[in-house]
Symmetry: D2
Subunit: 343 residues, 4 copies
């Protein structure tokens, strides 16, 4: 933590800041430049609410020099992490494809989709049973019944499964039925839910909040890991910007940025970010090319009649075509497309 003083700051003002720091059991390092004085804090910064120092007279600003997240920080955990999910995994050398409907609608629908996405190379079945919807009048999901359908689809196809959770009750149910839980974008800073997800012990897919910074996203991961659950995968799913030609703006640069800042795997959701099936293939390929560890793609048997997010869902044909096109990209980038293929 560095405190930058104003050019006009007088000796007494500098002294007051130094005293505040020393009163908290820390020591300081003064650097007297030609224009301004800079005060470095030495010691355990967790003892001090350094942001408060901005209220001291003569202080220009406070510059943090270390990140607040530790367990998810690559500086302290240089090796990339592989997260196991059911009988598959997410991490270096693999391209994991999660696919399925936005919302689980019926058991037959889910089973049909499961069989088809497996055939095209997906190893994890996604399907929403608890749907956070903007309007209270939209379809909110089948809840525990939807989870049971997911379990049945797993038994039938051997696919691993993931489901979004929105409450402690949903987590308690999910633990019984699926292999991985998802924290959605709207709940990325629902810290109560993050702690519950941490305590569940299940692998967690943590979607980026709609306007979350990289730093806030890693701090959200930190909430989960701090509860003793290190099985966290990050999912870039588009951020909110002024541009409306796509539903959100897919921030693909977040993939290499995250690779530098964290050891956790990072996957990309081209469906929610673009909001249109037309743009999903191009963005899926781009995600693979910039070295994402996986993809989450919405696939529906009949997008025109989907109960949620029809416009961005791929048909079986479009999904099969896409995964076929992704394979050579995987070869180039050095990822095995589908470890289940080897059987």
């Amino acid at each position: 933590m560095i405190i930058v003083m104003k050019p006009q700051a007088v000796r007494e003002e500098i002294g007051a800041v130094v005293k505040y720091i020393e009163d908290h059991g820390l020591s300081v390092h003064l650097s007297q430049g030609e224009e301004v004085t800079i005060i470095g804090i030495i010691g355990d910064k967790s003892k001090i609410s350094s942001e408060n120092l901005t209220v001291y007279k003569g202080v220009d600003r406070i510059v943090p020099v270390t990140e607040s997240y530790k367990l998810s920080n690559r500086k302290f955990h240089p090796e990339p992490t592989t997260v196991s999910v059911g009988n598959t995994s997410i991490g270096p050398g693999i391209l994991t494809i999660m696919a399925g409907p936005c919302a689980v609608e019926t058991e037959e629908q889910l089973m049909e989709i499961a069989i088809q996405v497996k055939k095209s190379g997906a190893t994890i079945l996604r399907g929403g049973a608890y749907k956070p919807r903007t309007s209270p009048y939209s379809f909110q999901g089948l809840e525990e019944e939807g989870l049971r359908f997911m379990q049945n689809a797993k038994k039938e196809t051997g696919l691993s499964t993931i489901c979004e959770v929105v409450s402690r009750e949903a987590i308690e149910a999910a633990v019984k039925y699926v292999d991985m839980i998802q924290i959605g974008a709207r709940n990325m800073q629902n810290f109560i839910l993050l702690k519950e997800a941490g305590r569940s012990g299940l692998p967690v897919l943590l979607k980026r909040g709609l306007c979350a910074t990289i730093d806030e996203w890693l701090n959200a991961a930190e909430y989960i890991i701090a509860e003793g659950n290190p099985h966290v995968v990050l999912c870039e799913r588009g951020i909110r910007t002024y541009e409306t030609a796509t539903r959100n703006t897919l921030d693909l640069s977040a993939v290499p940025v995250m690779r530098e800042k964290t050891h956790l795997p990072v996957i990309v959701d081209p469906s929610h970010s673009t909001g249109s099936y037309k743009y999903v293939p191009a963005m899926a390929k781009a995600a693979v090319a910039c070295d994402a560890d996986g993809l989450m793609i919405e696939v529906h048997n009949d997008p025109a009649h989907a109960l949620s997010d029809g416009p961005q869902s791929l048909t079986f044909e479009k999904f099969a075509k896409l995964t076929g096109e992704l394979k050579p990209f995987c070869d180039v980038i050095g990822r095995s497309f589908n470890p289940a293929d080897s059987h």
Copy 2:
């Protein structure tokens, strides 16, 4: 709902869209322009996931013509609503000031602040007992103990009280101790929590999400009201933009926009939006001038030692000076500054 077809759309494509709509029991109205055909849907739109129509060939885009929120919509409830909170209220003709510390720290601190903010004209005491913090290593609040301190401060001063809630447990506790609950920005689309807040029956202050649109914000209010709780007050607290000179960008235009779109009261939080005590007075005055129904302002006995958000907290002196300066603005705008004064 209007479907705009592409210029090249052929008769069969238009026919397929019409069939889809009629199959759902609705009727259509075709408008053949020189460049494009437009299809209007007539009937109860809730029967149809109209967004799905974008997957039909020849469809250019879907244009909604009615809002999804009804109960909070001024079109259907033209008279402005007044919300009662303890022994005070929020609505037309009144400027309600909520003030207090970001976080409740000790009983003595809270009592001292309560006495001082009351003296300066606040009628509602704010104080966080459950703190959603970006980092898991930051102070997270005193929880139920903090609520008890709030209750004691109310007994002592007669101020009404408000406290943020972050979970069902927090709501269950809050109901016992405080007059109004707050849904914070990070939980604005935590739909489970919104429903719980609706069921609590307590008046709810609904803060705008960090990147929530006006439309999403009103839909969040709709979640609460749809549970049978119409006592909702909206709070503009800054949105996330590219500008970093302030913590967030206070979107004051949201006040007149909301006045047009909803009958619910709207207040403004100049503390969290600007992130600096230096900018709070100017923005508080601006909020009053554009006809906000109230203000939520952070006040602390010793900002330099606050456990949360010290930089944006006003001292007692600064708060007293500000409320003094606000009074003539209230006179101009035609709001009674502090109805409690009349006693």
Copy 3:
């Protein structure tokens, strides 16, 4: 300028950074913390492209500690500046109202508007003769003829005049006819135009770019002042955000922020920012309440037939009502509403 090294940075890496700095004739100040080493640069930073240091191994990031703008910086010019425009002025103690049509359409129209806005308290007539329009097929302005109409309106009414310029030719023409030139939002970083505006010697109204930071805006002002023209007034006119309920998001907090960072006057344009006449009065009042030095408001004799920006233009009646309502706010804030009134 401070260089923050990575925790793992080794002695050789620190040495290479120090050598780079010293090779440029500057000296360093090392601060060895528990986690990281920080290197302060002492001396004339203009000798060094310090951002380049991020390419050195072991460097985490570069933190600037001083602003790049000097002439517009309040740190070095603590007294607020008053800018004279024709027979009026903009600065402390005055609320200057600029009003008029978005685009000059005919001489009769401009004259009628000039007479009316003067009657309601405006002291500067605005009117666009060179219109930067998104589409090449929209009305682009009357150019020099429009400037002549402005000059005639000035002769007739005594109002001072302002006109946007978009090229050197426009500046050369404007110098002959109007009292102040305006650099529009789209040209805020058209550095060639800024320099020409600086050389013109005329007072310049510098609108904030649609996504300009406070820092970039002040650097744009610096371009003008560095050419020897200190007569610069800043105009906040809304920034681009994700919110579409208003055309742009009026960043009123920029007023107190600018008050702190610069000695230049700051005015507010509630017309372009909101894009709707319905929201102009509320935002105009808010701007006055947070101590803006003036307002720029679009007024039109017949908004429904305006050639540009009709939806945000006030009618004469609405403008007269608004200025009447602004007067008591001026009294409260301590600004003389219209010095011309005193005649």
Copy 4:
């Protein structure tokens, strides 16, 4: 153009809107829904400033149904365009790589870079001679001398050349020395410059403005083409968002979106968008994978001593490594990497 009336709109209000439209020589098509009336305009919309209709009583909003750009619109020009630049070209089937320094510094430097980037597969040499810089105190470029160095580098290496222009003078000079001119992000809505670029007849690389929408970007292209110059290439270079981990947010989805909306080629600049050499390779690969027609990459002989944008420049080694890695992606996507290679 569709006018959506408010639910409460009465017959007289609807009649007034209809009269306005018919008075302009257009006809209307009324659609009476259960909740609202919708009025479609039939005829040549350029006769009417339809936005003005929002000032009519009873009007809820105006919905445009056709784009304002025509010449750049794929709806009317379905075949993709190939743009010739010197002895190379940009368009389907080719991946064109533009590389070189941010700013031309010396003739020797430029020549060395030209030889190296050619060796690694670039076919167009970039180099800034007119630099638009945020601060007036930063290096502003060698101007015409820099252009002469570009011409010499072309003679020596056979590379085609591109240079940014910032004024009519710069365009007049550029025409004499280089093969393609660039309109930078800050000038994307400098309409005077766009028209001059159109009149120059040279191929134009049009960078996306920092906060330009897709629609505004295509309208800017329209300005150039409307002057009779159809040789326009679009360049996505990152947009401004709240995220600061990268300098801007590369909006790669703009590539497939533009592919749908326009016939013009689209290239990507991973250097300016990310602002860091570390992220350039990943984003360059992603751009190729999502079918961009080319890349613009900054390469410098000594990034630590670059006069502009050192942190984002690749060294020769890094650039050679990257182009080697790009080749297999070109094979997969079906683009010839470097047509000059065939000689």
